[in-house]
């Protein structure tokens, strides 16, 4: 008993010695790496805001940023698992292009032959076909990687060429447009957003979920007598989390529909156009899809047997095999999942463009990999988080949007993004060395 007390007081002494910052980090158990990334993001945002003369931190720009990040963010959630198992997928951009063409042809050319124009099933069938094709392609590549033993780098490098070529073949290079009206909602825009009321409802639901997670975590720790976070730290985490969620909702609810669209909306319903009307966008549907993918993939990675195997394989493939894990099947499933997520990313970007083109998603694979790596996924395998990768996607998109706002030339944009990627990974290497 006395030993336990003295150990506890020694702990406390160490905390105070280490200064208030370290004490705060220890109490809240926040990941310093994640905090660093958020810090970098804030720095980039504020920097662009001043450089652009106050154009960056506006509801309009932030709303656009959230929509533009969605497709890459969805794919980055899968790339985390791929990289964690010491593999790579260079083909996601091409899969996105090919699947986009397939979905475009299905909804714009095949289905209208048998279904009425605008039939609500069209988008469902098109999306299901797309996800099926994506998973099939991923499964095929995964099979070659896992069972035939060809390195993932080579297989997906081949895939990069194959599926880009296949995207051209679907319609011999012709662009398919327009997309089904319901399908198009997945791309955002005024109609593809859920409006102010629903945004608040989802925001509040998110806050409630956050509280439940915190309370449940505390109950579980108590049950097994694990050290608890101080109560103030729990309240602090809950308050900051809720403030961030509600703040984000407030921002997207501050971005009104453009006046032209408002007018058309009311005229379309045969109503007089009121003066000074404010219709908020609210959360865009692609952002909801990305958030949903993030939640589901985080759950898969941390709470399921499959996720546990993914990380075990990344940590020590031989040990995983000796522990009786069917490592090949797990790897194949990861690539299937990656293919399906590329299909969802494809649905978002095809819907947003309102067209399927064979060049769609070119170089997306590099953005996705960069997002995952900036987000803390280790190329040596075994480490990475889905949330980090999504944040990485937002960071990459912020850089790009910011430079567009500043009117930076495209070649220079590429130079900056490339340099940022290298510097970010270098800093991460330094950080990891210090932690160890």
């Amino acid at each position: 008993m006395s030993e336990a007390t003295s150990a506890a007081s020694a702990d406390r002494a160490r905390t105070t010695e280490a200064g208030p910052v370290a004490g705060f980090l220890k109490a809240t158990e926040l990941d310093t790496r994640m905090l660093g990334m958020i810090g970098a993001l804030v720095l980039i945002w504020v920097g662009f805001h001043f450089l652009s003369g106050g154009l960056f931190l506006t509801p309009r720009n932030l709303w656009n940023l959230s929509v533009q990040s969605s497709s890459i963010a969805v794919m980055a959630t899968g790339m985390v698992l791929v990289i964690v198992t010491r593999n790579i997928d260079l083909s996601v951009g091409s899969i996105l292009g090919f699947v986009g063409m397939v979905m475009g042809v299905v909804q714009a050319e095949l289905l209208p032959q048998s279904l009425d124009f605008g039939n609500p099933w069209i988008w469902v069938i098109a999306l299901a076909v797309g996800i099926g094709v994506g998973a099939l392609i991923g499964g095929l590549q995964g099979f070659v990687i896992a069972y035939l033993g060809v390195p993932a780098f080579i297989v997906t490098l081949g895939g990069l060429l194959v599926w880009r070529g296949a995207a051209w073949w679907v319609t011999s290079g012709r662009t398919v447009a327009p997309m089904d009206a319901t399908f198009r909602l997945m791309g955002g825009g005024p109609a593809g957003s859920i409006g102010a009321t629903w945004s608040w409802i989802i925001g509040l639901a998110g806050c409630v979920a956050l509280m439940l997670v915190l309370v449940n975590g505390r109950i579980q720790r108590k049950r097994f007598a694990f050290p608890l976070r101080p109560v103030w730290a729990e309240i602090f985490l809950g308050a900051v989390g809720a403030a961030l969620i509600l703040g984000a909702v407030w921002v997207v609810n501050s971005y009104p529909w453009p006046i032209g669209i408002v007018r058309r909306h009311f005229e379309g319903q045969g109503l007089p156009v009121p003066e000074d009307v404010f219709i908020a966008h609210g959360i865009a549907i692609p952002v909801l899809i990305a958030l949903g993918a993030g939640v589901v993939m985080t759950f898969v990675a941390t709470r399921t047997r499959f996720g546990r195997y993914v990380f075990a394989i990344g940590g020590n493939p031989e040990a995983a095999e000796l522990a009786g894990i069917n490592t090949r099947w797990v790897v194949m499933k990861i690539f299937m999942l990656m293919g399906a997520l590329a299909a969802i990313g494809s649905a978002i970007s095809t819907a947003r463009l309102n067209a399927a083109t064979n060049a769609q998603g070119t170089l997306d694979e590099l953005l996705v990999i960069a997002a995952a790596v900036i987000g803390g996924t280790s190329l040596a395998g075994g480490a990475g988080t889905v949330a980090g990768a999504m944040l990485g996607a937002v960071l990459m998109q912020s850089l790009q949007s910011g430079m567009v706002l500043l009117g930076v030339d495209t070649p220079l944009q590429n130079i900056v993004v490339g340099l940022v990627l290298v510097v970010a990974v270098w800093l991460d290497t330094l950080y990891r060395r210090r932690v160890q």
């Binding site: 075990a312 020590n316 009786g324």
Partner: protein
């Protein structure tokens, strides 16, 4: 250990070759309930390879494995575990980036009724078994790579005994341990033996295992030199088997024994 009893496990005429090198050549060995069989030999004598065939890590080219007298097909580690064969590998085979409980249950996770990982139950059981092996072990939340060599070893051992092993294979189990921890492992071996578990103890150092073992089996160049009860041979005679391949009178010679010159 009566010879009339059916052995717990029998490996007969096992051979495996890697690209023309016969790593194990026509080796036979058996193990009874509650018996410690030491498998001795130089580095590269084929001990680990032979045992990896039993644990399912390698597929044999020829030979037969019998458990309780019945021939069994062991094609992968899952098959071996199905027959109650658990292995502590020389390399420990731990996934370094996850915690102790995740390693203990790797491949055999406890699930909640909703099919998600039951980390709470796994950790509770991990605490129980680790408490038995290494009462001072406290670092259940850290990834295994943060642990000391001895702690990692206890995790590997705990994993092997957690699932009611009937046959335990320990490949150089004390290689990374200090004297005190080595003594702990010796105590554990005696305890498991009294519970009726058959143990293969692999070592290149005869002093580590001679006092623990009931029988020794010596290998050289992939072949069995001979098998003997530790009551019938001296340490020096066993050393002669290891170094020269000379089979003493008290031992049953195998195919690798130096032809009866001595």
């Amino acid at each position: 250990m009566s010879a009339t009893q059916t052995p717990l496990v029998e490996l007969t005429n096992i051979s495996i070759a890697f690209g023309g090198i016969r790593a194990v050549d026509d080796a036979s060995v058996d193990l009874h309930r509650g018996e410690v069989m030491a498998l001795l030999g130089h580095n590269g004598a084929g001990k680990s390879t032979l045992i990896k065939i039993l644990s399912g890590a390698y597929k044999r080219d020829a030979g037969e494995i019998r458990v309780d007298g019945k021939p069994v097909a062991i094609n992968n580690p899952r098959d071996a575990k199905h027959y109650g064969i658990e292995t502590i590998y020389q390399t420990l085979a731990l996934a370094d980036n996850v915690d102790a409980a995740a390693n203990l249950f790797l491949g055999r996770e406890r699930l909640t009724p909703w099919g998600t990982l039951d980390d709470v139950a796994m950790e509770a059981e991990a605490r129980k078994v680790m408490g038995r092996l290494n009462p001072r072990f406290e670092r259940f939340k850290d990834p295994v790579k943060a642990l000391s060599g001895g702690q990692r070893q206890s995790v590997a051992i705990a994993r092997a005994i957690l699932f009611n092993a009937r046959i335990l294979i320990m490949d150089e189990p004390t290689a990374a341990l200090g004297p005190q921890e080595t003594a702990q492992v010796a105590d554990l071996v005696k305890q498991l033996k009294s519970e009726g578990i058959g143990i293969f103890l692999i070592s290149h150092d005869i002093h580590d295992v001679f006092d623990l073992a009931d029988r020794v089996c010596v290998m050289k160049n992939g072949q069995v030199v001979g098998t003997a009860s530790t009551d019938d041979v001296t340490k020096d005679e066993v050393l002669g088997m290891i170094i020269l391949g000379k089979c003493p009178a008290g031992a049953t010679p195998g195919p690798g024994a130096l032809s009866a010159v001595a």
